[in-house]
Amino acid sequence: MKTTARRTQTGLLTAFILFSGSIALAAGAGAPTEAPPAETPAPPPPAGPAASPPPPSTVVVVPVPVQPNPAVASPAPAREATAVAGSIPPPPEPAVEAPPVTEIGIERLPGSAYPEPQTRGLKYSSLWLTFHGLQWPYLPAKAGRDRFVVGISGWGWLDTSYVKFFPWGQGGSIIGQDQIAYAKQQGRMLLRVTPTYSFADWFVQGQVELVGTEDQTISRADVGGADTDDLWLRIGQWNKWDFQVGRFEGWEVFHLGMGLDQNTFERQGAVTNNDYAQISYYGLTDNQFRPAGAAGNMAVHYYPLPFLRFEALGTVGSVGSGPIIAGRPVAILDFGWLKLKGGVEWQRKTAQSENDQTETTSKGVGGALQFVFDPHIEFGVNAAQGTVVAIDKQGQPLATGSFTRTSIGGFANVGNGSERYPLLFGVGGMFTRNVDQNNIAVANVTDNYWLWQSFAAVQYVVFQQLYIKLVGSYSRAHWLEASTNPATSYDNEDYSVRLRFSFYF
C-alpha cells in the first residue's frame, strides 16, 4: 500500500515538475507579457517626500491605441505554439522599427523622480523638501527607449492653530481693534499630475496641481484659496537646460525652516488688517510666488555643472487692474553640504488706462547661505533688501508707498538621524524693517516699521509618511507713524501655536 502511495506521489510530483517547467518556458523568451518589465520596475525607495519604506508604487499600464504595424506585430502566437513542455522556443524576432511611444503608464512618482545628486537636507526636514532648482519630477527615458508617463503625486496638509494678539502703545483705536484671539483649522490637498514624454535625454513635460481647500469661505483670490497651483509646460534636456512657461514658482532663495509656512499665523506675524501699514518679510519674493490674476511666468533654466544652476524668470500679464512685467534671475551653487543662493529682481506694475499714470516699480537683491551636516544638523542665513517706488495717478511720487525693505533671518534644524523614528527640532527667526518716504509732519522723520517673526518646532514622521509638526511662534511688530507731530508709535505682539498633519505622496 505504501509503495502504491509512494508511486502515486512520485508520479504527481513528476507531473508537477514537468508542468512547472513548461510554464517557466512558456514565460520565457518571447512570451507575451502585459507590460514590458523595463517599464514597470519595482520602484526604489523614494528619495523624495514619499520616503522609504515606500508603499507599493502603483503603475497602471494603459494599452496604447496604436495602428497595427506588421513590423512590430507580436509574434506571440507562433512562440506560444512552440512553448510546450521541455521544448526551447526560438529567439524573439527583432523588431524592425521601435514604436515612438511604447506604452503609456500612469505612475505614482518613484523615488528617482525626486532628484538628489547632492544632499538636499536632513531627511524629512524643511530643506530636504526643497529642490534647490533641480528639474523635478525627473522622469527620463529608460534604456534608450521613448517613454510617455503620467506621473501622479501630491501632498496635503491640515493645520489646527490658535493665535492671540497683544497690542500696546499710541495706536489709538487700532489698539482696541487689534486685541483679538482666534482659532482656525485650515487645510489643502493637492493632486499633482505630470504628463512627461522623454526620449534620449530630451523631454516635454507638463504639470497641473489641482487643489482642494478645507476652508470653504475663502475665494480663489484669497491667500490659500487658489484651486490650481502649478500649471505649466516645459521642454528641454535633463540636467542641461529647459524652457518653462505657465504658472509656477521661481526658485527659492530664502529658506525659512520648519515654521513660517505659507498661509499660517506665524507667516503673517503680529500684523492685522487694522494696522497702520502692512509688513511682511522680503526675501526676493516679489516674483517668486505664483502670480495672481491673468499673469504667468516664463523661465529658462540652465545647468552648466552638476552643482551650478541658473534660472532666468520673467513674468508678464495683468495683476489686479493693470499690466505687470518682471524679471528675476537666480543662481544656486549647491555642493550638498553647502548651498549658496542669490538673485536680483525687478518688477513694474502700471495702470490699464492711458490717462492713469499710476506706476509701482520694485527692485531687490537677496541671498542665502545654507549648511547641511547630514544626518544631524542643517542651518542657514538669509538677507535681502529692496526698494519700492510708487507714482500716483497724477504722476506724483507717493511717499507712503515708496519705501526700502530689508529682511535678515536664519533657521536651524536638528534631527536624530533615525530612519525608523525620525524626529526633528527646528527654530528660526526673521527681522524685517520698512522705511518709507513719508516725512511731511516732522523733518527727517519718516514712517518706520519693523516686524520680528520667530518660531520653534518639533516634527515626527509616522511610518515615514505622515508628518506631524507642532509649531509655536512669537512675533512682534512696531509702527512709528510720521504723519503726526510728534510722531507716534505703537506695538503689537502675537503668540500662536499650530499642529500640522501633512502627507506627501
Binding site: 517547467g21 517557466a24 544638523i377 523614528y421 512669537y474
Partner: protein
C-alpha cells in the same frame, strides 16, 4: 535510487527552465548582500551615561510682572524676557535625574509701565534652581520628560533693593539623542516667582510669572 535520480534530474530541468526565463528579464540592480548578524556579533550595549551637561535658551514671551509703585504692588503684562540656563544632572535610577539649572533672565520689565513716571530699565533675574526630572523613553533616541525646578530667585533692579524669594518652574518636553553623546531638547512650561522686597518696613510683592519655552542641548558623559 533510480527514482530519486529521475526526480533530481527533473527538478534540475525545471530549475534550468526557470533560470532561462529569468535570463531574459531586464537586468536588475544587484541586490546587496544580506548578512545575517550572528547573535554573538551584536555590538555591545554602550555603557549607561548618567551625567548630563547642557545649555538652554529660554524665551519667555508671555508673563506678568509685579512691582511696588507708590507703595502698592501693581501687576502688569511683562515684556518679552529671555534667559540662559546651565543644566547639569545625574541620572539616579531609571529615568529619574537630579541636578541643577541656574539661569539668568534678562529684560524683566513691564510691557507698558503702569505709571506716568518714566519707566525704569529692564531688570535682571537670577534663578538658582535645582532640577528634578523624569524621562519616559519613547524609543532609543526619543524621550518625553517632565521636570520640576524649585529654587531661589533674585531680581536686581536699578535704583532699588533687590527682590528675593522662592521660584518654581514646571516643564515638560521632548528630548532627542542626536548622537550617542549629544542631545537636544525642546520643552515648555510655566515659572512662578514669589519674590518680594521690603519697602519702608513693609514686605511687598516684587515678582515675575512667565510661560517659558526651553530650547536646549548638551552632552552626556
Amino acid at each position: 535510487m533510480r527514482k530519486a535520480s529521475t526526480l533530481i534530474g527533473l527538478t534540475l530541468v525545471a530549475l534550468g527552465a526557470g533560470a532561462r526565463a529569468e535570463e531574459i528579464a531586464p537586468a536588475a540592480a544587484p541586490l546587496p548582500a544580506i548578512v545575517a548578524p550572528l547573535p554573538d556579533a551584536a555590538p555591545p550595549a554602550p555603557p549607561p551615561r548618567r551625567i548630563k551637561v547642557g545649555l538652554s535658551f529660554l524665551p519667555m514671551g508671555i508673563g506678568k510682572f509685579t512691582t511696588p509703585i507708590g507703595g502698592t504692588a501693581i501687576e502688569g503684562d511683562a515684556s518679552f524676557a529671555y534667559a540662559f540656563a546651565l543644566v547639569a544632572s545625574y541620572r539616579i535610577i531609571g529615568g529619574l535625574e537630579l541636578g541643577i539649572a541656574p539661569q539668568l533672565l534678562y529684560n524683566v520689565n513691564y510691557k507698558v509701565y503702569p505709571s506716568p513716571i518714566t519707566a525704569p530699565p529692564g531688570s535682571k533675574e537670577t534663578d538658582l534652581m535645582a532640577r528634578v526630572a523624569y524621562t519616559f523613553p519613547v524609543e532609543e533616541t526619543i524621550g518625553l520628560y517632565v521636570a520640576a525646578l524649585p529654587g531661589y530667585s533674585i531680581i536686581s533692579q536699578t535704583g532699588s533693593s533687590s527682590a528675593k524669594g522662592f521660584v518654581l518652574a514646571l516643564e515638560g518636553g521632548v528630548e532627542m539623542a542626536v548622537t550617542d553623546r549629544i542631545f537636544a531638547n525642546l520643552g515648555g512650561g510655566y515659572q512662578l516667582g514669589f519674590q518680594s522686597v521690603t519697602v519702608g518696613g513693609t514686605k511687598l510683592d516684587d515678582r515675575t510669572r512667565y510661560v517659558r519655552v526651553n530650547l536646549g542641548g548638551g552632552f552626556r558623559f
